[in-house]
Amino acid sequence: MKTRIVFSLIAIALVAGLILVTLGVPPAASNVQAVELSRGKIATPTPLPTAIPGVSALAIQKYAQGSKVITRQKSGFDISAANFRYENEEIKVDVCFQLPSTADWRVWDATLQTKSGNLLLSTIAPRELTETLADGKRRVTTYENGVSWNDIPHDGQPDYLCETLAFFSPTAEIDLRGIDLTQVSLVIQSIGALPREGQECAFYLETVQSRLDAKGLGIKLDCVSQEGGAQVVIARKPENMSQSDAETLVSKESIESFIVQGPWIFPSSSQ
Protein backbone atom coordinates (compact mmCIF):
# COMPACT_ATOMS: atom_id res chain seq x y z
CA MET A 1 0.00 0.00 0.00
CA LYS A 2 2.73 2.42 1.02
CA THR A 3 4.74 1.45 -2.04
CA ARG A 4 1.73 2.23 -4.22
CA ILE A 5 1.42 5.67 -2.61
CA VAL A 6 5.08 6.43 -3.14
CA PHE A 7 4.99 5.35 -6.77
CA SER A 8 1.82 7.38 -7.31
CA LEU A 9 3.51 10.49 -5.90
CA ILE A 10 6.55 9.95 -8.13
CA ALA A 11 4.30 9.50 -11.16
CA ILE A 12 2.39 12.68 -10.30
CA ALA A 13 5.67 14.58 -9.95
CA LEU A 14 6.91 13.36 -13.30
CA VAL A 15 3.64 14.12 -15.07
CA ALA A 16 3.47 17.60 -13.49
CA GLY A 17 7.02 18.33 -14.61
CA LEU A 18 6.28 17.08 -18.10
CA ILE A 19 3.15 19.21 -18.42
CA LEU A 20 4.93 22.36 -17.26
CA VAL A 21 7.83 21.78 -19.61
CA THR A 22 5.48 21.11 -22.52
CA LEU A 23 3.63 24.33 -21.81
CA GLY A 24 6.94 26.15 -21.75
CA VAL A 25 6.22 27.89 -18.48
CA PRO A 26 9.32 29.83 -17.56
CA PRO A 27 11.00 29.37 -14.22
CA ALA A 28 9.81 31.86 -11.69
CA ALA A 29 13.17 33.55 -11.43
CA SER A 30 13.70 34.02 -15.15
CA ASN A 31 13.29 37.21 -17.08
CA VAL A 32 10.24 36.78 -19.27
CA GLN A 33 11.96 38.72 -22.05
CA ALA A 34 15.07 36.58 -21.93
CA VAL A 35 16.67 35.80 -25.23
CA GLU A 36 15.96 32.20 -26.07
CA LEU A 37 16.78 31.76 -29.70
CA SER A 38 16.82 27.99 -29.56
CA ARG A 39 13.16 27.88 -28.67
CA GLY A 40 12.07 30.38 -31.27
CA LYS A 41 11.71 33.37 -29.00
CA ILE A 42 13.22 36.56 -30.23
CA ALA A 43 15.56 38.91 -28.53
CA THR A 44 13.99 42.00 -27.12
CA PRO A 45 15.22 45.09 -28.97
CA THR A 46 15.51 46.99 -25.72
CA PRO A 47 19.11 48.17 -25.45
CA LEU A 48 21.01 46.48 -22.70
CA PRO A 49 22.20 48.75 -19.92
CA THR A 50 25.73 47.55 -20.54
CA ALA A 51 26.41 49.81 -23.52
CA ILE A 52 30.03 50.81 -23.24
CA PRO A 53 30.89 54.31 -24.45
CA GLY A 54 33.65 54.35 -27.00
CA VAL A 55 33.08 50.97 -28.65
CA SER A 56 31.39 52.47 -31.70
CA ALA A 57 34.01 55.20 -32.05
CA LEU A 58 36.80 52.67 -31.77
CA ALA A 59 35.19 50.32 -34.29
CA ILE A 60 34.75 53.00 -36.95
CA GLN A 61 38.37 54.18 -36.89
CA LYS A 62 39.45 51.83 -39.66
CA TYR A 63 36.72 53.19 -41.95
CA ALA A 64 37.13 56.88 -41.12
CA GLN A 65 39.82 57.41 -43.79
CA GLY A 66 41.28 60.25 -41.81
CA SER A 67 37.98 62.05 -41.34
CA LYS A 68 36.79 63.02 -37.89
CA VAL A 69 34.52 60.55 -36.15
CA ILE A 70 31.19 61.92 -34.92
CA THR A 71 29.52 60.03 -32.06
CA ARG A 72 26.00 60.64 -30.82
CA GLN A 73 24.19 59.05 -27.90
CA LYS A 74 20.44 58.45 -27.78
CA SER A 75 18.17 55.86 -26.18
CA GLY A 76 21.04 54.61 -24.07
CA PHE A 77 23.80 53.94 -26.55
CA ASP A 78 26.18 55.43 -29.06
CA ILE A 79 26.34 55.42 -32.82
CA SER A 80 29.46 56.72 -34.56
CA ALA A 81 29.59 58.05 -38.12
CA ALA A 82 32.47 59.04 -40.39
CA ASN A 83 33.64 59.43 -43.97
CA PHE A 84 30.89 61.30 -45.83
CA ARG A 85 31.75 60.80 -49.50
CA TYR A 86 30.47 60.78 -53.06
CA GLU A 87 30.94 57.34 -54.59
CA ASN A 88 29.35 55.53 -57.53
CA GLU A 89 26.72 58.22 -58.02
CA GLU A 90 25.58 58.02 -54.42
CA ILE A 91 26.52 59.75 -51.18
CA LYS A 92 27.80 57.33 -48.60
CA VAL A 93 28.68 57.42 -44.94
CA ASP A 94 29.95 54.74 -42.58
CA VAL A 95 28.39 54.07 -39.20
CA CYS A 96 29.21 51.69 -36.33
CA PHE A 97 27.34 50.81 -33.16
CA GLN A 98 27.58 48.37 -30.31
CA LEU A 99 25.05 45.57 -30.70
CA PRO A 100 22.42 45.91 -27.98
CA SER A 101 21.78 42.14 -27.96
CA THR A 102 22.34 39.02 -30.04
CA ALA A 103 19.39 39.93 -32.26
CA ASP A 104 19.83 40.82 -35.92
CA TRP A 105 20.40 44.57 -35.60
CA ARG A 106 20.83 47.10 -38.38
CA VAL A 107 20.16 50.74 -39.11
CA TRP A 108 16.44 50.70 -39.73
CA ASP A 109 15.77 54.14 -41.19
CA ALA A 110 17.90 57.14 -42.06
CA THR A 111 17.96 60.21 -44.28
CA LEU A 112 20.67 62.58 -45.39
CA GLN A 113 19.67 66.21 -45.06
CA THR A 114 21.24 68.61 -47.55
CA LYS A 115 20.60 72.24 -48.39
CA SER A 116 19.00 71.06 -51.64
CA GLY A 117 16.65 68.60 -49.96
CA ASN A 118 16.59 65.25 -48.26
CA LEU A 119 18.26 62.22 -49.82
CA LEU A 120 16.74 58.76 -49.41
CA LEU A 121 18.31 55.50 -48.37
CA SER A 122 19.35 53.36 -51.27
CA THR A 123 21.22 50.57 -49.53
CA ILE A 124 22.49 49.62 -46.11
CA ALA A 125 25.62 47.56 -46.61
CA PRO A 126 27.19 45.53 -43.82
CA ARG A 127 30.94 46.19 -43.51
CA GLU A 128 31.99 44.41 -40.35
CA LEU A 129 30.18 42.36 -37.75
CA THR A 130 31.51 40.81 -34.60
CA GLU A 131 29.68 38.10 -32.71
CA THR A 132 30.51 35.94 -29.73
CA LEU A 133 30.32 32.27 -30.67
CA ALA A 134 29.08 29.43 -28.50
CA ASP A 135 32.67 28.30 -27.87
CA GLY A 136 33.55 31.74 -26.48
CA LYS A 137 35.58 32.85 -29.48
CA ARG A 138 34.89 36.04 -31.32
CA ARG A 139 33.92 35.88 -34.99
CA VAL A 140 34.82 38.90 -37.09
CA THR A 141 32.90 38.89 -40.37
CA THR A 142 33.72 41.27 -43.20
CA TYR A 143 31.82 41.90 -46.42
CA GLU A 144 34.30 43.62 -48.72
CA ASN A 145 34.56 40.82 -51.29
CA GLY A 146 31.73 38.51 -50.39
CA VAL A 147 31.20 37.20 -46.89
CA SER A 148 34.31 36.04 -45.03
CA TRP A 149 34.99 35.50 -41.35
CA ASN A 150 37.82 34.96 -38.96
CA ASP A 151 37.46 33.38 -35.52
CA ILE A 152 39.82 34.86 -32.95
CA PRO A 153 40.23 34.70 -29.18
CA HIS A 154 37.73 36.95 -27.46
CA ASP A 155 39.17 40.20 -26.11
CA GLY A 156 36.19 40.86 -23.86
CA GLN A 157 34.97 43.81 -25.90
CA PRO A 158 31.26 44.05 -26.77
CA ASP A 159 30.12 43.00 -30.23
CA TYR A 160 29.47 45.69 -32.83
CA LEU A 161 28.24 46.25 -36.36
CA CYS A 162 29.55 48.64 -38.99
CA GLU A 163 27.50 49.54 -42.03
CA THR A 164 27.76 51.82 -45.04
CA LEU A 165 24.64 53.86 -45.70
CA ALA A 166 24.14 54.94 -49.32
CA PHE A 167 21.78 57.73 -50.32
CA PHE A 168 20.25 58.80 -53.62
CA SER A 169 18.27 61.79 -54.77
CA PRO A 170 14.53 61.22 -55.20
CA THR A 171 14.39 63.98 -57.81
CA ALA A 172 16.54 64.95 -60.76
CA GLU A 173 16.66 68.47 -59.35
CA ILE A 174 19.28 67.51 -56.78
CA ASP A 175 22.69 67.04 -58.33
CA LEU A 176 24.61 64.83 -55.90
CA ARG A 177 27.98 65.94 -57.24
CA GLY A 178 27.08 69.53 -56.46
CA ILE A 179 26.34 68.88 -52.79
CA ASP A 180 28.79 70.33 -50.29
CA LEU A 181 29.50 67.32 -48.10
CA THR A 182 30.75 69.53 -45.29
CA GLN A 183 27.21 70.91 -44.97
CA VAL A 184 25.02 67.81 -44.71
CA SER A 185 23.50 65.96 -41.78
CA LEU A 186 23.00 62.25 -41.40
CA VAL A 187 19.84 61.52 -39.44
CA ILE A 188 19.42 57.95 -38.22
CA GLN A 189 15.80 57.79 -37.14
CA SER A 190 15.93 54.27 -35.77
CA ILE A 191 17.77 50.99 -35.57
CA GLY A 192 15.92 47.70 -35.60
CA ALA A 193 16.08 43.93 -35.36
CA LEU A 194 13.52 42.01 -37.38
CA PRO A 195 12.65 38.57 -36.06
CA ARG A 196 14.88 35.99 -37.67
CA GLU A 197 13.55 33.30 -39.99
CA GLY A 198 11.57 30.79 -37.97
CA GLN A 199 11.01 33.21 -35.09
CA GLU A 200 8.22 35.24 -36.66
CA CYS A 201 5.30 33.46 -35.00
CA ALA A 202 6.92 33.60 -31.58
CA PHE A 203 7.43 37.31 -32.16
CA TYR A 204 3.79 37.97 -33.09
CA LEU A 205 2.16 35.56 -30.64
CA GLU A 206 4.28 36.55 -27.66
CA THR A 207 5.85 39.98 -28.02
CA VAL A 208 3.26 41.74 -30.17
CA GLN A 209 0.31 39.97 -28.54
CA SER A 210 1.46 40.96 -25.07
CA ARG A 211 1.72 44.59 -26.16
CA LEU A 212 -1.80 44.45 -27.61
CA ASP A 213 -3.10 42.82 -24.43
CA ALA A 214 -1.40 45.38 -22.22
CA LYS A 215 -3.29 48.11 -24.06
CA GLY A 216 -6.57 46.22 -23.80
CA LEU A 217 -7.21 46.49 -27.53
CA GLY A 218 -9.17 43.24 -27.73
CA ILE A 219 -7.15 41.96 -30.68
CA LYS A 220 -6.03 38.34 -30.81
CA LEU A 221 -3.44 37.21 -33.32
CA ASP A 222 -2.93 33.85 -34.90
CA CYS A 223 0.15 32.78 -36.80
CA VAL A 224 1.17 29.79 -38.87
CA SER A 225 4.81 29.19 -39.76
CA GLN A 226 5.05 27.90 -43.30
CA GLU A 227 7.72 27.33 -45.89
CA GLY A 228 8.83 30.73 -47.07
CA GLY A 229 7.46 32.73 -44.16
CA ALA A 230 4.78 33.06 -41.56
CA GLN A 231 1.13 33.91 -42.06
CA VAL A 232 -0.15 36.23 -39.38
CA VAL A 233 -3.88 36.83 -39.14
CA ILE A 234 -6.14 38.75 -36.80
CA ALA A 235 -8.16 35.96 -35.24
CA ARG A 236 -10.37 38.23 -33.15
CA LYS A 237 -11.08 41.94 -32.83
CA PRO A 238 -13.79 44.12 -31.32
CA GLU A 239 -16.91 44.27 -33.48
CA ASN A 240 -16.75 48.04 -33.73
CA MET A 241 -13.15 47.97 -34.97
CA SER A 242 -12.57 47.78 -38.72
CA GLN A 243 -10.16 45.22 -40.13
CA SER A 244 -8.02 48.04 -41.46
CA ASP A 245 -7.81 49.74 -38.08
CA ALA A 246 -6.93 46.44 -36.41
CA GLU A 247 -4.15 45.83 -38.95
CA THR A 248 -2.81 49.33 -38.39
CA LEU A 249 -2.68 48.73 -34.64
CA VAL A 250 -0.91 45.40 -35.11
CA SER A 251 1.60 47.02 -37.46
CA LYS A 252 2.25 49.83 -35.00
CA GLU A 253 2.85 47.45 -32.11
CA SER A 254 5.06 45.15 -34.16
CA ILE A 255 7.21 48.03 -35.39
CA GLU A 256 7.60 49.39 -31.89
CA SER A 257 8.58 45.90 -30.76
CA PHE A 258 11.60 45.61 -33.01
CA ILE A 259 12.96 49.13 -33.42
CA VAL A 260 14.64 51.60 -31.13
CA GLN A 261 13.87 55.20 -31.97
CA GLY A 262 16.52 57.89 -32.19
CA PRO A 263 17.16 60.17 -33.78
CA TRP A 264 20.92 60.19 -33.87
CA ILE A 265 21.93 63.31 -35.79
CA PHE A 266 25.39 63.72 -37.31
CA PRO A 267 26.19 67.10 -38.88
CA SER A 268 29.13 66.62 -41.22
CA SER A 269 30.35 70.07 -40.22
CA SER A 270 31.42 68.46 -36.97
CA GLN A 271 34.13 66.66 -38.92
Binding site: L20, V21, V25, D104, S122, E200, E247
Partner: protein, 178 residues
Protein backbone atom coordinates in the same frame (compact mmCIF):
# COMPACT_ATOMS: atom_id res chain seq x y z
CA UNK B 1 9.99 1.95 9.21
CA UNK B 2 9.43 5.42 10.70
CA UNK B 3 12.62 6.66 9.07
CA UNK B 4 11.48 5.31 5.69
CA UNK B 5 8.14 7.00 6.15
CA UNK B 6 9.92 10.30 6.87
CA UNK B 7 12.42 10.02 4.06
CA UNK B 8 9.95 9.07 1.35
CA UNK B 9 7.92 12.34 1.37
CA UNK B 10 11.17 14.35 1.39
CA UNK B 11 12.48 12.28 -1.51
CA UNK B 12 9.25 12.78 -3.42
CA UNK B 13 9.28 16.53 -2.75
CA UNK B 14 12.90 16.80 -3.91
CA UNK B 15 12.09 14.74 -6.98
CA UNK B 16 9.15 17.01 -7.76
CA UNK B 17 11.32 20.14 -7.47
CA UNK B 18 14.12 18.59 -9.46
CA UNK B 19 11.73 17.48 -12.17
CA UNK B 20 10.15 20.90 -12.53
CA UNK B 21 13.11 23.23 -12.08
CA UNK B 22 15.66 20.88 -13.53
CA UNK B 23 13.62 20.52 -16.68
CA UNK B 24 13.25 24.26 -17.00
CA UNK B 25 16.90 25.04 -16.62
CA UNK B 26 17.69 22.21 -18.98
CA UNK B 27 15.34 23.50 -21.63
CA UNK B 28 17.03 26.88 -21.53
CA UNK B 29 20.35 25.30 -22.33
CA UNK B 30 19.15 23.58 -25.50
CA UNK B 31 21.22 24.96 -28.32
CA UNK B 32 19.80 25.93 -31.66
CA UNK B 33 20.68 22.94 -33.78
CA UNK B 34 21.00 23.45 -37.49
CA UNK B 35 19.50 20.49 -39.31
CA UNK B 36 21.64 20.83 -42.42
CA UNK B 37 24.99 22.20 -43.60
CA UNK B 38 26.16 23.48 -46.98
CA UNK B 39 25.11 21.09 -49.73
CA UNK B 40 22.50 19.40 -47.56
CA UNK B 41 20.72 22.74 -47.02
CA UNK B 42 20.32 23.36 -50.73
CA UNK B 43 16.66 23.75 -51.65
CA UNK B 44 15.49 23.52 -48.07
CA UNK B 45 13.78 26.22 -46.04
CA UNK B 46 15.81 28.25 -43.56
CA UNK B 47 13.04 28.39 -40.97
CA UNK B 48 12.32 24.67 -40.81
CA UNK B 49 16.03 23.74 -40.90
CA UNK B 50 16.92 25.95 -37.95
CA UNK B 51 19.16 28.22 -40.04
CA UNK B 52 17.41 31.48 -39.20
CA UNK B 53 18.70 31.54 -35.63
CA UNK B 54 22.26 32.14 -36.87
CA UNK B 55 21.36 34.35 -39.84
CA UNK B 56 22.64 37.82 -40.69
CA UNK B 57 22.53 40.20 -43.63
CA UNK B 58 25.09 39.10 -46.22
CA UNK B 59 24.86 41.93 -48.74
CA UNK B 60 23.62 45.49 -48.94
CA UNK B 61 19.98 45.81 -47.95
CA UNK B 62 18.24 47.11 -51.07
CA UNK B 63 15.43 49.62 -50.57
CA UNK B 64 12.34 49.28 -52.77
CA UNK B 65 10.44 52.47 -53.62
CA UNK B 66 7.12 53.20 -55.31
CA UNK B 67 6.47 56.81 -56.33
CA UNK B 68 9.19 58.01 -54.00
CA UNK B 69 7.83 56.13 -51.00
CA UNK B 70 9.76 53.24 -49.50
CA UNK B 71 7.61 50.10 -49.68
CA UNK B 72 10.04 47.33 -48.82
CA UNK B 73 13.49 45.84 -48.95
CA UNK B 74 15.43 43.01 -50.57
CA UNK B 75 17.76 41.09 -48.25
CA UNK B 76 20.51 38.58 -48.82
CA UNK B 77 20.59 36.37 -45.75
CA UNK B 78 23.24 33.88 -44.76
CA UNK B 79 24.00 31.47 -41.97
CA UNK B 80 27.74 30.97 -41.50
CA UNK B 81 29.86 27.98 -40.60
CA UNK B 82 28.57 28.07 -37.03
CA UNK B 83 25.10 27.42 -38.45
CA UNK B 84 24.05 26.14 -41.87
CA UNK B 85 26.64 27.54 -44.32
CA UNK B 86 23.93 28.61 -46.73
CA UNK B 87 22.21 31.73 -48.02
CA UNK B 88 18.79 32.83 -49.21
CA UNK B 89 16.81 35.88 -50.25
CA UNK B 90 14.21 37.62 -48.10
CA UNK B 91 11.72 40.29 -49.18
CA UNK B 92 10.41 42.68 -46.52
CA UNK B 93 7.11 44.55 -46.86
CA UNK B 94 7.13 48.09 -45.50
CA UNK B 95 3.69 49.14 -46.63
CA UNK B 96 0.11 48.04 -46.12
CA UNK B 97 -0.90 44.58 -47.27
CA UNK B 98 1.06 43.58 -50.34
CA UNK B 99 1.99 40.48 -52.29
CA UNK B 100 5.69 39.69 -52.38
CA UNK B 101 8.13 37.74 -54.50
CA UNK B 102 11.81 37.01 -54.22
CA UNK B 103 14.62 35.03 -55.78
CA UNK B 104 18.25 34.16 -55.22
CA UNK B 105 20.27 33.35 -58.35
CA UNK B 106 23.80 32.09 -58.83
CA UNK B 107 26.35 30.99 -61.37
CA UNK B 108 28.35 32.83 -64.04
CA UNK B 109 28.48 36.54 -64.65
CA UNK B 110 24.71 36.63 -65.17
CA UNK B 111 23.82 34.54 -62.13
CA UNK B 112 21.80 32.25 -64.36
CA UNK B 113 22.93 28.73 -63.46
CA UNK B 114 20.24 28.19 -60.89
CA UNK B 115 17.75 29.88 -58.61
CA UNK B 116 15.45 29.52 -55.63
CA UNK B 117 12.22 31.49 -55.52
CA UNK B 118 9.34 32.49 -53.31
CA UNK B 119 5.99 34.04 -54.10
CA UNK B 120 3.38 34.81 -51.46
CA UNK B 121 -0.07 33.50 -52.32
CA UNK B 122 -1.49 35.88 -49.73
CA UNK B 123 -0.91 39.51 -48.83
CA UNK B 124 1.58 40.13 -46.06
CA UNK B 125 1.38 43.01 -43.60
CA UNK B 126 3.81 45.75 -42.67
CA UNK B 127 7.04 44.30 -41.33
CA UNK B 128 6.30 40.80 -42.63
CA UNK B 129 8.69 38.88 -44.86
CA UNK B 130 8.85 36.04 -47.33
CA UNK B 131 12.01 34.11 -48.06
CA UNK B 132 13.31 31.64 -50.59
CA UNK B 133 14.63 28.14 -49.98
CA UNK B 134 18.38 28.05 -49.46
CA UNK B 135 21.30 28.08 -51.85
CA UNK B 136 23.93 26.04 -50.05
CA UNK B 137 27.31 24.63 -50.99
CA UNK B 138 30.06 23.14 -48.87
CA UNK B 139 32.50 25.61 -50.42
CA UNK B 140 31.05 28.56 -48.53
CA UNK B 141 28.83 31.57 -49.10
CA UNK B 142 29.26 32.09 -52.84
CA UNK B 143 28.29 34.93 -55.13
CA UNK B 144 24.57 35.44 -55.64
CA UNK B 145 22.07 37.92 -56.98
CA UNK B 146 19.12 38.62 -54.73
CA UNK B 147 15.94 40.13 -56.16
CA UNK B 148 12.46 40.92 -54.91
CA UNK B 149 9.39 43.02 -55.51
CA UNK B 150 6.02 43.85 -54.00
CA UNK B 151 2.58 44.32 -55.50
CA UNK B 152 -0.76 45.66 -54.36
CA UNK B 153 -2.78 44.05 -57.11
CA UNK B 154 -2.19 40.31 -56.86
CA UNK B 155 0.33 37.50 -56.55
CA UNK B 156 3.59 38.15 -58.38
CA UNK B 157 6.42 35.89 -59.45
CA UNK B 158 10.15 36.29 -60.03
CA UNK B 159 10.91 36.97 -63.70
CA UNK B 160 13.22 35.21 -66.11
CA UNK B 161 13.97 31.70 -64.84
CA UNK B 162 17.52 30.49 -65.59
CA UNK B 163 19.02 30.14 -68.13
CA UNK B 164 17.32 33.50 -68.60
CA UNK B 165 18.66 36.31 -66.45
CA UNK B 166 17.53 39.60 -65.02
CA UNK B 167 18.70 42.86 -66.52
CA UNK B 168 17.57 46.41 -67.12
CA UNK B 169 15.24 48.26 -64.79
CA UNK B 170 14.27 45.22 -62.73
CA UNK B 171 17.91 44.40 -62.02
CA UNK B 172 18.71 48.03 -61.19
CA UNK B 173 15.73 48.62 -58.93
CA UNK B 174 15.03 45.22 -57.43
CA UNK B 175 18.27 43.25 -57.22
CA UNK B 176 21.41 43.27 -55.13
CA UNK B 177 24.51 41.11 -55.51
CA UNK B 178 26.41 39.94 -52.47
Amino acid sequence: MKIRLLIMPIFVALLLMATIFGSFSGSHKVSAAALCYGDSCHGKNPNTMGCGSTAYYGAPIKSLYRNGVKIGEVHNRYSGSNGCLAQWERTLNLSNNQYAEGSIRWGGINYNSGWQTVSSPWVIGYGATVYTPMYGTNSGIGASLNCGSLSLSGPIYPPNPPPGYVSGTYKTNNCQAN
